[in-house]
């Protein structure tokens, strides 16, 4: 059997879910024998998301234009997309700026780059290089269809393993019970 093409993506999150993924410890060696890691911030140095990915873990919410473009791209090129962790599933901490109203990018940048600047206060401006913030931060499933939801901040390594193992055998994991779906 061909190896499964496996990817992980990091959008607006703290990378804690990826750290938890690395907590899989020795199972990572088993996993490496079963999958081809074709795109991942912790597994490859590739910049372009490839075609024909079988399984992809998506960490983080949709907070800027790059997140939005990448989300649409991975949906086009991936068979099974897993919303990986609370930021992807609920928008979580990155979305706390949404409480400031409908257009939250400006007050957030104002606070970060003007009010708190010790010297040289100015907005970041590098069109085409630094992605613009969206007005609101969204959970991934509000932008693209998601196949499996794996909540948790972060999901434990055990939960990640229990989700991936059935997929590697061509089955669908059962996301029920405290061990699999508790938020936080």
């Amino acid at each position: 059997m061909d190896k499964i093409k496996f990817a992980t993506v990091w959008l607006a999150g703290c990378s804690g879910c990826h750290m938890s993924f690395l907590d899989l410890d020795e199972f990572l060696i088993d996993l490496a024998g079963l999958v081809d890691v074709v795109f991942s911030p912790v597994g490859t140095d590739l910049k372009e998301y490839p075609e024909g990915v079988d399984v992809c873990l998506v960490e983080g919410a949709i907070a800027n234009e790059e997140n939005l473009e990448l989300a649409l791209e991975i949906r086009r090129k991936t068979k099974t997309l897993i919303s990986f962790g609370d930021c992807a599933v609920t928008a979580n901490v990155p979305a706390m700026r949404n409480m400031m109203g409908n257009k939250t990018a400006e007050p957030v940048l104002e606070r970060g780059y003007i009010e708190l600047a010790d010297e040289n206060p100015h907005f970041p401006n590098a069109p085409g290089i630094v992605p613009e913030l969206l007005d609101r931060v969204l959970p991934v499933h509000e932008v693209i269809p998601i196949d499996i939801f794996m909540p948790g901040c972060p999901p434990s390594a055990d939960r990640i393993r229990a989700t991936l193992e059935p997929l590697l055998q061509g089955k669908t994991p059962e996301m029920v019970g405290r061990e699999m779906i508790k938020f936080g």
């Binding site: 409480m99 794996m150 938020f183 936080g184």
Partner: protein, 238 residues
């Protein structure tokens, strides 16, 4: 003593007249999820998690405020009910700002518990992200309105068990919120005895002890039932 007999999920049960369907289910050992219900204070049917189906009526009935009647045939776990219960929990999550990972009640939260119970792995509804505040004016406690689910357990316990009536509900519809005194900062309400019963009664991290960090709050849901029984029946141990 007048008794009503009814069937709950196929189990026949006899229960004292005047008791609710929830009481009867408890007697029959049939679990029904609840959030706003708390032993020791009266029921208000605020959360609608305990809805059940009764044969012969198209309406879904809240078990905590519906009297058990003679001959009722009740179903508590139909697909329709499970679907609505999950939807209810999703709506509660979408309605406020429940960021579990930075909540004092993470891991000890009844809202988290019911989310797991109804199988909610995400919310199908868009989050509203309302702009709500926190009140830290009390010397020992705090209230974070972002995490309030309007179960009114704090209102009832303060009124019915402590007898202070510090809490009430202000405003209407989606703007509803819990007010201290006459919508004053909690710390300025003289009626508050600082007993902390509202902290124990709160199912989420909305009312907490100041200084508690993420994951530290532990509610004591059984305390109010204990206090009520203690006073009424002079049973002072549990």
């Amino acid at each position: 003593m007048a008794v009503n007999t009814l069937t709950i999920d196929g189990k026949e049960i006899a229960i004292e007249a005047g008791k609710t369907i929830l009481d009867a289910a408890k007697e029959a050992g049939v679990p029904i999820p609840t959030l706003c219900h708390m032993e020791g204070v009266h029921d208000v049917g605020a959360c609608r998690l305990c809805i059940v189906e009764a044969e012969g009526t198209p309406k879904l009935l809240p078990a905590c405020v519906t009297a058990a009647a003679e001959g009722m045939v009740i179903h508590t776990q139909t697909e329709k009910l499970q679907n609505y219960r999950r939807m209810t929990v999703e709506l509660i999550f979408a309605e406020g700002n429940h960021v579990c990972s930075i909540c004092v009640a993470n891991g000890n939260c009844e809202l988290q518990d019911v989310a797991v119970e109804v199988g909610m792995d995400h919310s199908r509804f868009s989050y509203r992200f309302p702009d709500r505040g926190c009140d830290l004016s009390h010397s020992q406690f705090g209230i974070d309105h972002n995490r309030c689910i309007m179960c009114t357990r704090c209102v009832r316990v303060c009124d019915e068990v402590e007898g202070a009536h510090v809490w009430d509900v202000g405003s209407r519809g989606p703007d509803c919120f819990i007010v201290a005194g006459l919508d004053q900062p909690w710390g300025e309400v003289d009626a508050c005895t600082s007993c902390g019963k509202c902290v124990d009664a709160c199912p989420t991290g909305a009312i907490f002890h100041q200084g508690e960090t993420t994951g530290e709050k532990e509610g004591d849901r059984g305390k109010m039932a204990f206090l009520t029984t203690a006073r009424e029946k002079q049973q002072w141990t549990r």
